[in-house]
């Protein structure tokens, strides 16, 4: 089973992109992809509700293709965030939360969301990168993720973009078993994925492409380049996603 845990769908054009996504899934022999709406970075009050209703609409007759996420901006009033998470993740249909680069993950203001997700056992995928140029103002780097993981050991965190995080980023989160990484990010630079596999083990790596930033073929190629057992490869390609996002299956 191949599951892509990092797949964006442009919210304003989601009906068309959903169909494209299903076509691409079939074309490359994948079973499912994340359904992660891409909205404005800093969300407006009604965005969680709009997303939640759109998820319900899409999943009504296409549930078998997706692992639904709710994209959350922790800057929004926590009362609204809590209501949205409870309405559309705890009750469903979403099974996980995506946080983009609107707030660093170890900020005090992030804690209410982390606590809520931890309490309900909801995994969160967080954009992350160690950059020396072109860094976004509120973008998390792996040290922020490590700090969050230390504060919330029961929160399941997927640190996005392994190649962007690099060797040092993998080292940062290695001591925290509640942190996973996805295979997306940048060009398929040699050595980094293998280092992640060696240090973290196959149980903590999830196939994710960051579509439409990069396509699944590029990221699948990284996985096929690694020296590992069939069992480990299957965990990375989909087994770990089934384990983490069980509610979607």
């Amino acid at each position: 089973m191949i599951i892509d845990c990092h797949w964006h769908v442009l919210f304003d054009d989601y009906e068309r992109v959903i169909q494209t996504s299903i076509n691409e899934l079939k074309r490359c022999g994948m079973d499912r992809c994340a359904l992660m709406f891409h909205l404005d970075l800093y969300q407006k009050e009604g965005d969680l509700h709009r997303q939640g209703e759109a998820l319900k609409k899409v999943l009504k007759d296409r549930k078998e293709y997706f692992v639904p996420f709710l994209t959350v901006d922790p800057n929004v009033d926590f009362g609204i965030v809590k209501e949205g998470v409870e309405e559309y993740v705890v009750k469903g249909p979403a099974v996980a939360v995506k946080v983009h680069h609107s707030m660093k993950a170890d900020r005090k203001e992030f804690e209410p969301l982390a606590n809520l997700l931890s309490m309900h056992g909801i995994p969160v995928l967080i954009h992350c990168w160690y950059k020396t140029v072109q860094k976004y103002e509120n973008e998390s780097d792996p040290s922020n993720i490590a700090n969050l993981a230390a504060k919330f050991p029961d929160l399941k965190i997927i640190m996005a973009h392994i190649t962007g995080c690099g060797f040092r980023g993998i080292q940062d989160i290695a001591p925290y078993p509640n942190v996973y990484v996805d295979t997306s990010g940048s060009q398929p630079e040699d050595g980094i994925m293998q280092y992640g596999l060696d240090l973290l083990g196959a149980d903590r790596i999830l196939f994710g492409s960051d579509f439409p930033g990069r396509d699944p073929a590029t990221q699948l190629g990284r996985i096929y380049s690694l020296d590992m057992s069939e069992e480990d490869r299957n965990k990375i390609l989909g087994g770990n996603s089934v384990r983490l996002f069980g509610g979607a299956f």
Binding site: E24, R27, C28, W129, Y130, K131, T132, V133, Q134, T163, G164, G166, F167, S186, Q187, P188, E189, D190, G191, M193, F211, P212, R214, D215, P216, A217, T218, L220, G221, R222, I223, Y224, S225
Partner: protein
């Protein structure tokens, strides 16, 4: 048959690289059934005198003359560059030229750069200009933040009308679209690799529609990048075997003037 138009030997100064010596490099080629690979010296990019790197690589690949073809790295802002270029082609047997305007202190619009590209055309060898070597976002602090300037590149191909060019490791679909009009009026041609072009997104289709299958080549970036990525993309390309053959070796063979 597979010909890889984009390989490197030598040290990358900003992080440890595996399989960057000639024996390991050829072993990787064997693993991926790559028959022939074009290589150039990473050391040459960063040595003050690129010629030292060119001489190193010419010596290193001698035992593998049936598997490796060397391109020289020339900095046209450095003294005696023209003599170095001629030495590389006439004495060291190099089959192409690498230009790095974002690592060396010149622009492609300057007289010496134009003259160098024209000399390559006169020698019947291609000029390869990578869009970048790595993604600049996670670069080392001392590394460049620049990549290939498309406008300068288009100016260069106009100024070197008989020279063949190769552009690799970037948004080659977009560069091909921007350069299409200029390239159509030239005797030389611009070839593009699909190292950073995606096959599920429309970028490969756009590249193919813009330049046709005769001007696309395989480039892996070995050993800087995982090779399977390019082969997975090849697997999923929705093109005929004839087109795949052009992309994977026939165009490269023509460009390198292989029998």
């Amino acid at each position: 048959m597979l010909i890889d138009m984009c390989g490197y030997l030598g040290h990358w100064p900003f992080r440890k690289i595996n399989n960057n010596d000639v024996e390991s490099f050829v072993k990787v080629m064997d693993d991926y059934k790559i028959n022939l690979s074009v290589v150039s010296s990473l050391n040459a990019v960063f040595y003050k005198d690129t010629m030292q790197g060119n001489e190193e690589i010419a010596e290193e690949i001698k035992p593998y003359s049936d598997r490796l073809v060397a391109f020289c790295v020339i900095n046209p802002a450095y003294p005696a560059w023209e003599k170095d270029f001629r030495t590389c082609i006439e004495k060291l047997g190099m089959k192409g030229l690498m230009m790095y305007p974002y690592y060396h202190p010149y622009r492609l619009t300057e007289a010496n750069a134009i003259r160098l590209a024209n000399l390559a055309g006169e020698a019947g060898i291609p000029v390869h200009i990578p869009v970048s070597i790595i993604n600049v976002r996670q670069r080392h602090w001392l590394d460049t933040t620049e990549i290939l300037n498309t406008s300068d590149f288009i100016a260069l191909i106009k100024n070197a009308p008989n020279t063949d060019f190769i552009v690799s490791n970037g948004a080659t679909d977009a560069i091909a679209a921007a350069a299409k009009d200029a390239d159509s009026k030239r005797k030389g041609k611009v070839y593009y690799d699909f190292q950073r072009v995606e096959v599920f997104l429309p970028s490969f289709e756009r590249l193919l529609a813009t330049v046709g299958p005769e001007q696309i080549v395989l480039g892996t970036g070995n050993p800087l990048q995982y090779l399977d990525t390019q082969f997975v993309k090849l697997h999923y390309m929705d093109v005929s075997d004839e087109v795949k053959d052009l992309i994977t070796y026939k165009n490269a063979a023509r460009l390198l003037k292989l029998a």
